[in-house]
């Protein structure tokens, strides 16, 4: 419960770290822009931290402020800066953005976009099609009793009932050719196209890719009748069959 109208919570965010080695504003802006143009959507409004701990010469306050302005002008959001704690510049308190503690960072490899061939005579293309490998469908003929849990890596077909207190999960679709009285979770690895089909909707919970609905809500839509559950624009839809 919050009396103050807010809650303070911790959160971890992945950001880009701009590590300056030598200060040469024009070079930095030029090369940074080049990187951004390769994958513009990756950098658009991306939070960025400027790290000057690797600079041997150090940097003046004016230079640093110009750097922040230039980086912001490229569409990045500067959320903080880092510096070697032993070589903290005297002007550090004058910087408006927060000084972050030093930590380890991994270099990001941004592979350049595929280069356009300059009008070749013969075009040889290797087309690699990305396909989902279909996982074997699991078929169950016995009733799934209270306390039992069944998981399928592909689709799950149950030719019987799923009792209250039982749980059926699948990476793909779930079909229940009987009463669904327990919990059914389809697309548990995030497949938003997964669906749940059942002959009699009496579920405790249905979920697709983490979006769930409880029986109280289901009872107002379809109850004790055949139904399918699908995800439309991040919200569950229960449709009578």
């Amino acid at each position: 419960m919050t009396d103050s109208g807010f809650r303070l919570k911790g959160s971890v965010v992945t950001t880009v770290l701009l590590e300056i080695q030598t200060f040469s504003l024009d070079d930095i802006v030029f090369h940074l822009k080049e990187k951004i143009d390769q994958v513009p959507h990756f950098f658009n409004q991306a939070p960025i931290i400027i790290d000057i701990s690797k600079m041997k010469r150090g940097i003046r306050l004016e230079e640093f402020e110009v750097l922040i302005q230039s980086v912001s002008a490229l569409g990045l959001g500067v959320i903080g800066w880092r510096c070697d704690p032993d070589a903290l510049p005297v002007w550090n308190a004058s910087v408006t953005i927060p000084l972050l503690p030093a930590s380890k960072a991994r270099p990001i490899n941004i592979s350049p976009a595929v280069k356009e061939e300059t009008s070749p005579d013969v075009v040889v293309k290797t087309v690699v099609e990305e396909r989902l490998v279909p996982q074997a469908t699991k078929v169950i003929t016995k009733p799934i009793r209270s306390g039992q849990q069944v998981y399928a890596e592909g689709d799950l077909i149950i030719l019987n009932q799923v009792s209250a207190g039982a749980e059926v999960l699948a990476d793909g679709n779930i079909h229940v050719y009987g009463a669904l009285r327990g919990r059914a979770l389809a697309g548990v690895k995030g497949d938003a196209d997964a669906r749940i089909f059942c002959k009699s909707m009496e579920a405790e919970l249905v979920s697709i890719a983490g979006n769930f609905m409880l029986s109280d809500a289901l009872q107002n839509i379809v109850w004790k009748d055949s139904a399918q559950v699908l995800l439309v624009d991040d919200s569950l839809e229960i449709v009578p069959l």
């Binding site: 016995k142 009733p143 009793r145 209270s146 039992q148 009932q161 009792s163 209250a164 009463a179």
Partner: protein, 277 residues
């Protein structure tokens, strides 16, 4: 039968429920007696180690000298521990130990006792303790058939559903990939009047949820409590509806067709109403 030797045809029937107080021991005593009355040599084993009750219901509590755990631990022979029923020919009781707990039961120990019993008996009734832990799992592990005792209320039905799942996954038949345990639903403490008022689940409600064949419906009856306190299995009370309903259930277990009865609200006759009966 499910034990290692295939020379005998003893059938092991577990009477189980998950939930406590639904009538497992009453039903074990009644059904075991009913089978013996039909001339089949029958033994009822009390698996409720530490909470021995079957001997009281069967009225043989004063004759208990050795028990099931003594036999498992080879402190007594089976013939020393078996109690012959005084009323019913062909009926024996193997009482539980009151001073031990369920850890005294081991797969090997139980198997040894069942194998020895299977040489002499046609039917072995295992009266399961409540719960889904070791005692209940030991009682059902070697079963060929299960009688799931359920009261017409949601918590009992849920627990029965749970135990049905365990029967089909943790029994020896399930582990060996053999034909699954034969399941029978026995609905006890059924009160047609309260069903009519919507206070109690109906037979069809329970059948719909559990989806197993119905062996019988035992109406709520004062005769059951009376019989328990007297140490007489209620099936011997042929004046009571409960006793007759148990006999019907035994007939069905033996493969005979019997119509369900005592499912309707009894209309009191004029004289009965006048006498306040």
């Amino acid at each position: 039968m499910s034990l290692s030797g295939d020379t005998t045809l003893a059938k092991i029937i577990v009477v189980t429920s998950g939930k406590g107080g639904v009538g497992k021991t009453t039903s074990s005593a009644a059904i075991g007696t009913g089978i013996a009355l039909k001339g089949h040599k029958t033994v009822i084993i009390d698996f409720d180690v530490g909470l021995r009750n079957l001997d009281l219901i069967m009225g043989c509590e004063r004759r208990v000298v050795y028990d099931f755990v003594n036999v498992i631990n080879k402190e007594a022979t089976l013939s020393q521990a078996l109690i012959k029923d005084k009323r019913t020919k062909d009926l024996f009781i193997l009482p539980a130990s009151q001073t031990r707990d369920k850890d005294a039961l081991t797969i090997e120990g139980v198997q040894g006792v069942l194998e020895e019993l299977a040489k002499d008996f046609e039917y072995i009734i295992c009266d399961s303790p409540a719960g889904i832990e070791k005692g209940a799992q030991m009682a059902l592990y070697f079963a060929d058939a299960a009688i799931v005792v359920t009261n017409p209320e949601v918590s009992s039905v849920r627990d029965s559903d749970r135990i049905l799942g365990i029967l089909q996954s943790k029994s020896k038949r399930a582990e060996d990939g053999k034909e699954p345990i034969e399941e029978h639903l026995l609905l006890t403490r059924y009160h047609p009047g309260r069903v009519a008022l919507g206070e109690m689940l109906s037979v069809s409600d329970v059948e719909d949820i559990l989806a197993i064949p119905l062996l019988g419906v035992i109406p709520e009856s004062e005769a059951v409590l009376k019989a328990s306190n007297q140490g007489t299995p209620v099936i011997l009370d042929t004046d009571s509806e409960a006793g007759l309903a148990y006999m019907d259930a035994v007939d069905r277990l033996m493969g005979e067709e019997r119509p369900l009865r005592f499912l309707e609200v009894q209309k009191k006759g004029f004289i009965k109403r006048l006498l306040g009966g």
